[in-house]
């Protein structure tokens, strides 16, 4: 963590600066505490408590930024004289700072009890607060140096957390893959930044880049945009750059997975908005269409692969790819609409992307914390060995259910609100007569992809919730599970309340985001901004309204009336409990639908994409046709991983080992290299 040195005279005036500096200082202390406390492998409780406190400050900072407080600027210590670490937080950054505050706070609170589930050592104890702080800096970085510094700090600290304190092979492999992929992405960013800085006369400040980018030839701008999409898209886990994500996220402890899936992948989205959109501008239609295509493919394939998964945390990680795809759909429409001067509609589309990013942070963190509680209680996160946990951990079941309903996009929860806005962004793009037919068709096809994604998400999260919490336990460990620890429950309840609150109160939040997005896009505040869910009538967006609070209240009232009517009425309801009817034998867990059997139909429906493979091995009692044992293995083929990235990885390993022969450790050989180098230099520089 760089030393905080206050240089900007404007800094230090408002409450914002105190919160910001305080948050960073507390995180620095927490990091040191983490080293000291976890020395003997004990839980660094003071450290996570300090992290929670810092995140509360960060949350307050984000709320102030969003609510229209003055933007925050500071120069935090010049590490090198020509490259000061400038930060500048505006309302747009505030959205992401809030996300970090909420998720970081809940994750840190859950870690109070959760730390004993995952062994800590000095490195992971120190890395967690650094990870949180580096993301705060990423969201505020005002120049390329500060950005890349914070970006790298974030990559390294999260990699340390993925590998963990007592790594097994799987974690080391996940950490290695994550580091390799994230550095390839950073390389793309460095090239893009270098081009932009060169075009801007060597300035590293983002603020100077817009003018410089305008001087680039069209193919240069296209190239820079492609590099940004590659670099930021990889961090965001966009298909096809997502390979690292389903391995790295589940390998980390659950509270870290919550922060990685909830916040860290959004730094990619933040970069696309801040640098892609903010510096390069909306650009030609092809850019927006590219984002729509990447978004649609990520959304559909992300949720399909999630559905096929029976590891609860991998399922959640894969569904993050789906949600990032939905965010990209909003971002893509914003690009398309802004490119044709439809600023009002573009603001609404960008607000949809921002709101879905925020909402995804909330419900995905809730689900990851729930998965962590389940793993701690039942000793496994294999859905086919769970089941029946609603009896032993009823509150966790309820809170996980709220998160599942939110991520499935059900009204009146927050996932519905942002998906509704995204639908409107796409339909609005498709309905705008001012746009070329290609763009309109693209947006309307994306509507179909989004509808498919939402329906598949319902299937996926019915499966995840049902297989974990309902029916009979499928293993002895699941049978012996216990309720989550108090701090974990409190953290999950906090997030579940936010899922409901951000759903029923979506209108004011979306209004503020639309205003911020509109200002960001350089337009006037949106007309009718008081209620953007009552979208712009007569404008290019398809008008329509939704009142999640009213619908939610009506549904709740109706359900209560229905339940009272069932219980009371003229004659009371008689309820008799008997074993489930299973055709005359006693019910057993083996008769239940498992997570794998639940998704079988979709595996077959989408077999051309998923390429399912299965192998059944039967052994018979000697001399009879009565089976004695049966072994079943099955799964789907991740085509891209197995046929593209796998061979590429093998090639790079082979190439590395070839190159390594140059380094054989013999002093004579190194002297020979030095001599050859000298001769070449003399020959060339003569």
């Amino acid at each position: 963590m760089p030393a905080v040195e206050i240089a900007d005279p404007a800094f230090g005036a408002g409450l914002e600066s105190w919160l910001w500096a305080g948050g960073l200082v507390i995180l620095a202390v927490a990091s040191i505490t983490g080293v000291v406390e976890s020395h003997g492998g004990r839980a660094p409780r003071l450290s996570v408590a300090l992290s929670a406190l810092a995140c509360a400050a960060i949350l307050a900072l984000g709320v102030l930024l969003l609510a229209g407080g003055s933007p925050l600027s500071a120069q935090a210590g010049s590490v090198i004289s020509f490259a000061p670490v400038d930060v500048h937080y505006d309302a747009l950054a505030g959205v992401f700072v809030i996300m970090l505050g909420i998720v970081g706070f809940a994750a840190s609170v859950a870690a109070w009890d959760g730390v004993h589930h995952a062994p800590f050592n000095a490195i992971t104890g120190a890395a967690y607060p650094v990870f949180l702080g580096s993301m705060l800096l990423v969201f505020g970085a005002a120049n390329a140096f500060a950005f890349l510094l914070a970006w790298e700090l974030m990559a390294l600290s999260s990699a340390a957390l993925v590998v963990g304190a007592k790594p097994v092979h799987e974690q080391v492999a996940a950490g290695y893959l994550y580091l390799a992929v994230t550095h390839l992405a950073t390389a793309a960013l460095v090239v893009a930044f270098a081009v932009l800085a060169t075009a801007s006369g060597g300035s590293l400040a983002f603020a100077d880049w817009s003018a410089g980018a305008a001087t680039l030839p069209p193919f240069g701008r296209d190239g820079v945009f492609a590099l940004l999409v590659l670099g930021f898209g990889t961090k965001a886990g966009v298909f096809p750059f997502h390979v690292w994500l389903p391995r790295a996220h589940p390998a980390a402890p659950s509270h870290v997975s919550a922060v990685m899936s909830g916040v860290m992948i959004k730094t990619g989205i933040f970069g696309l908005i801040r640098v892609g959109l903010g510096v390069l501008g909306p650009g030609p239609d092809a850019w927006g269409l590219l984002l729509l295509a990447l978004g649609a493919v990520s959304a559909v394939l992300g949720i399909l692969y999630a559905l096929m998964e029976h590891d609860l945390k991998r399922l959640l990680a894969l569904s993050s790819i789906d949600n990032i795809g939905i965010v990209l759909l909003g971002l893509g429409s914003a690009l398309l609409l802004a490119g044709h001067g439809l600023a009002t509609a573009a603001g609404l589309a960008l607000a949809a992307a921002l709101l879905h990013g925020l909402n995804h942070g909330v419900f995905k963190a809730l689900l990851f914390l729930g998965a962590g509680a389940v793993q701690a209680a039942a000793g496994t996160r294999n859905l086919n060995r769970l089941g029946g946990l609603a009896r032993t951990m009823p509150l966790t079941a309820l809170l996980f259910g709220v998160g599942a309903a939110a991520i499935a996009g059900l009204p009146p929860l927050n996932g519905f609100a942002s998906e509704w806005l995204t639908f409107h962004a796409l339909i609005g793009t498709g309905a705008s007569a001012d746009l070329p037919p290609v763009v309109r068709s693209g947006a309307l096809v994306a509507v179909g992809a989004l509808a498919l994604t939402v329906a598949l998400a319902v299937a996926c999260f019915v499966k995840a919730t049902g297989a974990t919490f309902l029916a009979l336990p499928r293993s002895a460990d699941a049978d012996a599970a216990h309720e989550a620890e108090p701090a974990e429950r409190a953290a999950m309840a906090f997030l579940a309340v936010l899922c409901v609150a951000l759903g029923v109160a979506a209108a004011p939040v979306a209004a503020r985001l639309t205003e911020i997005a509109g200002r960001f896009l350089g337009s006037l505040p949106v007309a009718n901004a008081a209620d953007p869910l009552a979208a712009v009538t007569g404008g290019p967006l398809a008008a329509g309204t939704v009142a999640p609070a009213a619908l939610g209240a009506a549904a709740l009232l109706g359900a209560l009336v229905g339940m009272v009517a069932m219980r009371r009425g003229r004659r009371r309801e008689l309820v008799r409990a008997t074993p489930t009817w299973t055709c005359g034998v006693l019910p057993e867990p083996a008769m239940e639908y498992t997570a794998t059997s639940y998704s079988k139909l979709l595996r077959l429906f989408f077999r051309r994409v998923l390429l399912p493979a299965r192998e059944v091995h039967v052994e018979y009692h000697p001399g009879t046709s009565i089976p004695s044992t049966m072994h079943y293995t099955g799964g789907v083929t991740h085509v891209l991983e197995q046929h593209v990235f796998g061979p590429l990885h093998a090639l790079s390993v082979r190439g590395s080992s070839t190159v390594r022969r140059l380094q054989n450790g013999s002093v004579q050989v190194y002297l020979a290299y030095a001599l050859i180098g000298l001769v070449i230099l003399l020959a060339v520089g003569r």
Binding site: A451, A577, M591, Y593, Y598, K600
Partner: protein, 319 residues
């Protein structure tokens, strides 16, 4: 159409009468027609009401391993379906709850109902419940793209996703509504109605044969008052899908203003159209064999493809 509070109350009462109260009768007439087409006499058209009364007075048998969701889900499913129902304009070109939700909200509420039924079906640990639940959510994933795409053909033409505005605009344009895009989208949506309300060739509402049932499989463990609520919700969902079809694709005759005479005409037109459209479902049940479940992607893919064709026509052809 601006709707005052009084008008809203009138519309709610009318909707409750023509759609909520008539929904079981609609199912009764469909079953009756189907029986006649199969050369059976069939049960009375009032049979669904008798069934509901019967279930209401029976005791509830629940699985010994059930969780609280068993008791909660039926009421939630019914309440959510009712919410969706009151967002659809029927007799007048305004939904009884104007501004509470557009067509995306209707789709979302139907998904919420499905989520609860499918989850509760997993609770008892019966293989049939899991099978029905798995099938229902899988088939829904094939239905939903076609459902949304067919509806937004109309939304794109009208420039609004508000169902009242769509119905009003459609009724006002008279026969001018019958563009190629509209006709193709109507066919796509008809397929969606058949699938979503559980008729041949997708599901059979009257079957309890374990190998074929979808929706009934999920309700196999429900009994007593809970079954009654689930079945009311199922009747309502079928009526809702037909009402949605009528409002968007066959809006003629819908009352353009909230006044006694147009409303009375609207009621007559709506009930006639609803019962007639219901006979279409009976025809599908009687004449079309049920498809193998693995053939459903092709059948429902046709609906999605038709909806995309309609959208392409809307975007590329001059209006």
């Amino acid at each position: 159409m601006a709707v005052s509070l009084l008008a809203s109350v009138v519309l709610i009462v009318l909707q409750a009468v023509v759609l909520v109260a008539l929904a079981p009768l609609l199912s009764g007439t469909i079953r009756r027609t189907k029986a006649r087409l199969q050369s059976r006499r069939g049960a009375s058209i009032w049979q669904p009401y008798r069934d509901l009364r019967k279930w209401w007075s029976k005791e509830t048998v629940q699985s010994a391993t059930a969780s609280p969701i068993q008791g909660v889900a039926p009421a939630v499913v019914l309440a959510v379906t009712l919410c969706a129902l009151f967002l659809v304009p029927t007799v007048a070109a305004a939904a009884p709850l104007p501004g509470w939700g557009d067509l995306i909200a209707v789709v979302g509420l139907l998904a919420a109902a499905r989520f609860m039924v499918a989850l509760a079906a997993l609770d008892s640990g019966s293989a049939f419940g899991g099978m029905g639940s798995s099938r229902d959510v899988s088939i829904a994933a094939l239905i939903e793209p076609a459902l949304v795409l067919a509806l937004i053909v109309a939304a794109v033409s009208v420039g609004s996703t508000d169902l009242g505005a769509i119905a009003a605009s459609g009724a006002a344009s008279g026969l001018g509504l019958l563009t190629p895009a509209h006709a193709v989208a109507a066919v796509a949506f008809a397929i969606v109605v058949v699938a979503e309300s559980g008729h041949h060739p997708v599901d059979n509402p009257d079957t309890h044969l374990e190998l074929t049932m979808v929706h009934e499989g999920m309700l196999l463990e429900a009994s007593g008052r809970r079954l009654a609520l689930y079945m009311v919700a199922a009747h309502l969902r079928q009526a809702l899908m037909l009402a949605l079809f009528l409002a968007v694709f066959v809006p003629w005759g819908i009352a353009a203003e909230i006044a006694p005479v147009p409303l009375a005409l609207g009621v007559v037109f709506f009930v006639a159209k609803l019962l007639l459209a219901g006979q279409g479902l009976a025809l599908a049940d009687a004449l079309v064999p049920k498809l193998r479940i693995l053939r459903l992607p092709e059948f429902l893919g046709v609906a999605a493809a038709l909806a995309l064709v309609a959208l392409a026509a809307r975007v590329w052809l001059p209006a």
